[in-house]
């Protein structure tokens, strides 16, 4: 993270990065993606709720609702957006130690409820 700041003044480096990024955007169609958080027996409910509040800026009520959904249903879609956006969120969640994946928003609209029998 800090390294990309350090590379900032080098215009050639940043131009190059910019080109790579825009190529990416062209090849990935701009369809909605979901950020999914999976249940595990280790993460504290209070901690998961804290992460949702402090990282996403969700209200206490919304954070607790999503946390309970993870706990009871095994998974919850906690954010959506472009592929790049949800991937960035996923890395942040991995930084906090939450088990996060990204998935294409499916045609059934929600894509939830499949995780019941999965590792709890």
């Amino acid at each position: 993270m800090t390294l990309s700041v350090a590379l900032g003044p080098d215009t050639r480096a940043s131009t190059h990065t910019g080109t790579a990024a825009s190529t990416d955007v062209l090849t990935a169609p701009d369809i909605p993606w979901n950020l999914v958080i999976w249940n595990d027996p280790v993460n504290l409910m209070s901690y998961v709720s804290y992460v949702f509040r402090s990282y996403f800026g969700y209200s206490e009520a919304k954070a607790n609702k999503l946390m309970l959904e993870v706990h009871k249903k095994g998974r919850s879609i906690v954010a959506h957006g472009s592929k790049e956006q949800v991937e960035q969120h996923a890395v942040a969640m991995h930084g906090y130690g939450l088990w996060a994946t990204v998935e294409k928003a499916s045609s059934d609209g929600k894509g939830s409820g499949k995780g019941k029998g999965k590792r709890g």
């Binding site: 590379l7 027996p41 209070s46 901690y47 804290y50 590792r119």
Partner: protein, 186 residues
Amino acid sequence: MAKAFKNGLKGITGYLEPAERELLRSLFDDVISMLEPAERANQDPLAALVGLDAEAREPSDRALRRLLPNVMKNDDEASLEFRRYTERSLRENKIGALKAAALGLDKDELVLGPADARHWSTALNDVRLVLAERLDIRDDADAGHIHLMQDWSQAEDVESYLALVYNFTTWLQESLVQAMLASLEA
């Protein structure tokens, strides 16, 4: 005995006995050494500098896989591609938080500002994730079983010792997160 973290005027404060600090220091160090990327003789220094790792692959160790999970559930190839661009900096961020938390162990009394509290909470979380894999905690029933181990006189083998350590770090993290939640309200 350690005292639970509390949110107050000075920030978040806590107290640990010397033996507890030594224990936490060794746990933080263990996870740091798990996360340190292997140095490769032929690695491209510029690629390393910008966080790329063309050789990155899904870790074979279960605990490490939990710390650095695949980003897609059913697409190993796309997950690997993503890992090559992101895993190195994820490792470095985790190591940074663990090192910052370890530095704070130099004094009996802990006084944590907002950034310190974040480092501590993620460091404790990563330690717990690793211990949980070693203890084979797969579901809430396993977690409940481990939670019953509270008495240090029961520590008779490695597994019971790990369970007690896990419960101590769980208690410590919970008290810290409660203090952090209280600081959000303030």
